[in-house]
């Protein structure tokens, strides 16, 4: 028996086939969306192995919960929500394992961002896209996971405050202050990185 060729089939049809138990259709969905799911996991946990494991776990969960997918959003968006939730659980567990959280200290010493001088010159102006990506990546790596996550959900996933609050299990006020801190800190880090690259430090 020859295997079905699903390479030209749309996502909706593949999901319906997979919901009936067609693993080949599901495999095609995995192949199409696996990079995006992995990228989201990596942007949150910043570790290649953990991101691979978490994205694999997300696909297994996706298969198990496929009957719940009603098509209100795209399949890729639905899968992204699954991997985001898994990453948040993973990061919470990691945080619990640490005896004293640096992130919590960061959060508690909040207010620093209110006093930071405003960055008046755009630190990323004139950068090539590759350079910009590198700097953003390095700056994101220096943020706590709560601040990084809120940025990722807002800027990359285009979630509203309300949705971020629901996803992260916190209030809208917390989302607003985390986002504010993260943006201001990121601006300052981008200035530092620009100085580093210009050999000004």
């Amino acid at each position: 028996m020859t295997e079905k060729d699903y390479s030209t089939t749309d996502d909706q049809t593949l999901v319906r086939a997979a919901q009936k138990g067609d693993m080949t259709a599901f495999e095609e969905l995995v192949a199409r969306h696996r990079d995006k799911i992995y990228a989201r996991a990596y942007s949150m946990v910043r570790n290649e192995e953990e991101a691979i494991d978490l994205s694999q776990e997300a696909w297994v969960k996706g298969w198990q919960r496929l009957a719940q997918f009603q098509g209100e959003s795209g399949f890729g968006t639905w899968m992204t929500r699954i991997v985001i939730n898994l990453c948040l659980d993973h990061l919470r567990k990691q945080k619990r394992q640490r005896s004293e959280s640096i992130d919590a200290m960061d959060e508690e010493s909040g207010g620093v961002e209110r006093q930071m001088p405003v960055v008046t010159v755009n630190p990323t102006a004139g950068l090539e896209r590759g350079e910009l990506r590198q700097r953003i990546d390095r700056a994101l790596g220096q943020l706590s996971h709560e601040h990084r996550t809120v940025l990722v959900l807002h800027e990359f996933e285009e979630m509203e405050y309300k949705e971020i609050a629901r996803t992260m299990g916190c209030s809208i006020g917390t989302v607003m202050s985390r986002l504010f801190y993260a943006r201001r800190k990121l601006a300052a880090l981008l200035v530092d990185l620009k100085k580093d690259d210009l050999g000004m430090t």
Binding site: D35, Y42, Q56, Q64, V119, D137, E155, Y161, R183, L186
Partner: protein, 164 residues
């Protein structure tokens, strides 16, 4: 100096999260306050840098290898694994039964000790049916009755010459 609430409102204005009335207030402030304009500009630049700086990433595993792991994990989770479950049920029963058994044993011992606790009672000495003993264990008192005439009974049952 912009207070913190106003800073957050400027951010919410940028993100389109403010209700119309509040958005108008922020717009009015921005028309008059240079610090507010600079803050808004910084926040906008950072947001733009994030959006443009999102690096496309590829999963560092081949399609076949990654799928084989997913397929194996799905198969593993779907295969029935009743044995550990039953064992855990047994263990749960045992965990419940052990303390229940201990409580029952303690209760039984208490009941037995109550039943067998010594109170006043009457005893008949089997060797001598003419003697009765009354014992009160609580007060430590013992009374013995001897019924007479015992000599006559002996005289009736045994020849006189055998009495010593």
């Amino acid at each position: 100096m912009i207070d913190y609430d106003s800073q957050l409102k400027i951010q919410a204005y940028l993100d389109g999260e403010l209700p119309e009335a509040e958005a108008q207030q922020v717009a009015k402030r921005l028309a008059q306050d240079q610090d507010a304009v600079l803050l808004l500009s910084e926040l906008r630049n950072t947001r733009q840098a994030m959006v443009n700086g999102q690096a496309p990433m590829a999963l560092p595993e081949t399609r076949e290898f990654f799928w084989s792991k997913i397929e194996r994990e799905i198969g593993r989770q779907e295969s029935p694994q009743p044995a550990p479950r039953r064992n855990s049920m047994l263990a749960a029963w045992r965990r419940m039964l052990v303390p229940a058994g201990a409580v029952a044993a303690v209760g039984l011992v208490c009941m037995l000790s109550l039943v067998s606790s010594p109170g006043p009672r009457m005893e008949t000495a089997l060797a001598d049916s003419g003697a009765f003993t009354y014992r009160d264990y609580n007060s430590g008192a013992t009374l013995v009755w001897l019924s007479y005439p015992a000599e006559n009974e002996f005289a009736d049952s045994e020849p006189a010459g055998t009495v010593q």
